[in-house]
Amino acid sequence: MANKVFVYVDHFEGRVVPASFEALGVARQMVETVGGGVVAVVLGQGVDDVVQKAVAFGADEVHKGDAAVLKDFRGEAYATVLSAIVAEAEVLLFPTSGRTRELAGLVAVDLETGIIPDVIDYEFDDGSVLAMRPIYAGKLLTKVVCRERRPQILTLRSRAFPKPEPDSSRSAEIIDVDVDLADVKTEVTGYGESQSGVSLTDAAIIVSGGRGVSNNPSLEPPAEISDEAEQEIWRAQQGFKLIRELAKVLGAAVGASRAAVDANYVPYDNQVGQTGKVVSPDLYIAAGISGAIQHLAGMRTSKTIVAINKDADAPIFKLARFGLVGDLFDVLPPLTQALKERLGK
C-alpha cells in the first residue's frame, strides 16, 4: 500500500472541481515512478457519478465514503474520514480549492506530516517529490520537499497540469468506506447565493475591469442618484456591463482589480491579484486596469494578456502580448460585436 498515490476528488454538490481530473493525471504520471496504483477518494452523499468520473479519469481503486453525515463539506468531519483512508499513502494529491486547503492541512496534522500547497510543477528527487510552488504571490518560486514523513501531501494549482482524456471503458475496484463520526462540532445550515458563471480559477478566458470602468464622464447618472460616490458606482456598473457582455461572448469569467473591488464596483469574489485570486488562464483581457504590482502578481502567468487602457504608459502594457491604447467605453462594444460575428454567436 505504501507506494500508492491517492487523489482526493473535490466536488461541490456532485460537480467535480476540474483540477481534480488534473490531479488524477498527475497521479498516473507519478505511479510510473513510484509503482503502485492510483487511488481516488470520494466523500459526500450520493456520489456515484463522481466515483465514475474518477475511474474514467484514471483511478485504479476508489474509496467511496457515501453518508448523510458527509452531505455538506465540513473540514473536521471530512478530515477524520480521509486521514483514516490515506494513513499508508506515499503521496496524497488534492486539487487546490478553499475546501482542500483546509482539508489537506487537517489531514497533515492528523498524520503528522508536511503539506505543500499550490504546486505548479514537480520532479522526483531521491525518492521524494520535489515540488515547485510560487511564494510572494509568484514573485519568487521555491522547491519544497517532504523527505522523511509520509504521505507527502500536495495541493495542485488549477490549470497548472494537463487534464487527461477520460476513458469510460476503464474499471476500478470500489471500496465502501465505513463512516462513523461522532461529535462533529460544526453544522452546515444553508448556502448563500451561488456564484454564477465560470469560476475564476478554472476559467480558460478572463475579462477583468479596473478603476477605469467608472471613468466615463459622458455617462449621466439618473437624477435620483445625487450622492457622488453612488454616481461613481453607477458609472462603474455601466462599465462592468460592457465587461460582462464581452465575457459572455467568450464564455469567460469576470475579474476585477483590487481598486475596483475596494471602490465597491464589484464584490470581492471577483478580485484577481495578490490579495484576491491567483489565476492562470489562456487569455486574460485587462480593461481599464493600470497594472499595480499586486494585480500583476495574480495574473502574470496567463498565457496571453491583452491590455486595453487609455494611458499608453500604464505598467500593464509591459506584461501584455497585445496592447490597445483607447477608452474601454469606445473599444469594448465594437470588440464584443466583432467577436460575436467571428464566433457565430
Binding site: 497533515a108 520537499v145 464584490p267 490579495t275 465594437p334
Partner: protein
C-alpha cells in the same frame, strides 16, 4: 469573549522581492503587519466591542516581529505576546501550528482565535486550520461574515466563502476562524493607540515558556528559492484610426495567433 488574534510580520506586498546570494531580499521596503491579518484584528476588536472581553495579539517570529504586534496594539488590541525562540527557525506549518497551539493553551480560557486567510509571503493558508485541529476546536476558514455569535450559548454562525457558494455554518465555541477581506474595513490606528502601543511592554515567550520541551523537526524543507524565469513579452500595439478599427484588428490578431 477572550479572543486571540494571530498576526505575522511580512514584507509589504508592494515590495520588489529578489534573490541575493541565495537569500530572499525585499530591499529597503519596510516589513508590515500581514495585510490579511488586519481584517482578523478588526474582526476581533468588533467582537470585543459588541460582547466585551479582551483581545490578545499573538505573533510567532524573530524579535523584529514586535512591530507587527505594535500595529495590532495601535489598532486597539489589549495585549501583545511575541513567541520567539532560536529553536523555532525554519519551522514549517506543522511545527508552527504546534507552537501557536501551545501558546494559546498557555493564555488559557480562550473562546476564539482569529487568523487572516493566509500570509502574503509564504501564502500557505493552512495555519488556522492546523491550530484548530491541534486544539480539538472547529476551524472555520474563509469567513466573509459572522452572522451570529452567542457567547453564553457558546455558538457562532458564519458565512464562509467557497468557490461555488457561500456556506453557512454553525459551530460551537471555542473556535478558530480565518477571515477574508470582505468581512470588514480595518480601522486606522488612532493617535492614542499609537502612543499606547509605543509604550507597551511586549512579553517574549520562549519554547520553555509555552511548555515545549522539544521543538519537533519540520516535515518539509524548501532547499531552493529562486526568481521565476523572465518571460520575454514584447507587446504588440494595436494601431488604428478609430476604436472600431482597433477592435477589429485586435480580433484579427487574436484569431491569427490562435489565441481564440
Amino acid at each position: 469573549m477572550n479572543i486571540v488574534v494571530c498576526v505575522k510580520h511580512t514584507a509589504d506586498t508592494a515590495a520588489t522581492v529578489t534573490i541575493e546570494d541565495g537569500k530572499i531580499s525585499w530591499g529597503d521596503t519596510p516589513m508590515i503587519l500581514n495585510p490579511w491579518d488586519e481584517y482578523a484584528v478588526e474582526e476581533a476588536l468588533r467582537i470585543k466591542e459588541a460582547h466585551g472581553g479582551k483581545v490578545t495579539a499573538l505573533s510567532l517570529g524573530p524579535k523584529s516581529a514586535k512591530d507587527a504586534l505594535k500595529q495590532a496594539l495601535a489598532m486597539g488590541c489589549d495585549e501583545g505576546i511575541l513567541v520567539s525562540d532560536a529553536a523555532f527557525a525554519g519551522a514549517d506549518s506543522l511545527v508552527v501550528s504546534k507552537i501557536i497551539a501551545a501558546a494559546i493553551q498557555k493564555i488559557e480560557d480562550v473562546d476564539m482565535v482569529c487568523f487572516g486567510r493566509a500570509s502574503v509571503d509564504s501564502d500557505t493558508g493552512v495555519t488556522g486550520s492546523q491550530v484548530g485541529r491541534r486544539l480539538g476546536w472547529p476551524a472555520l476558514n474563509l469567513v466573509a461574515e459572522i452572522t451570529a455569535l452567542d457567547a453564553e450559548g457558546r455558538t457562532i454562525s458564519v458565512e464562509r466563502m467557497l468557490e461555488e457558494s457561500r456556506q453557512q455554518v454553525r459551530a460551537s465555541l471555542p473556535v478558530v476562524i480565518s477571515v477574508v477581506k470582505e468581512i470588514n474595513e480595518p480601522r486606522y490606528p488612532s493617535f492614542m493607540g499609537i502612543r499606547k502601543a509605543s509604550k507597551a511592554e511586549i512579553p517574549i515567550w520562549s519554547k520553555d515558556d509555552i511548555g515545549l520541551d522539544e521543538v519537533p523537526q519540520s516535515a518539509v524543507m524548501w532547499p531552493q528559492v529562486f526568481a521565476p524565469p523572465k518571460v520575454e513579452t514584447k507587446v504588440e500595439m494595436i494601431e488604428g484610426d478609430t476604436p472600431e478599427q482597433k477592435a477589429l484588428k485586435l480580433v484579427d490578431r487574436l484569431f491569427e495567433e490562435k489565441v481564440i
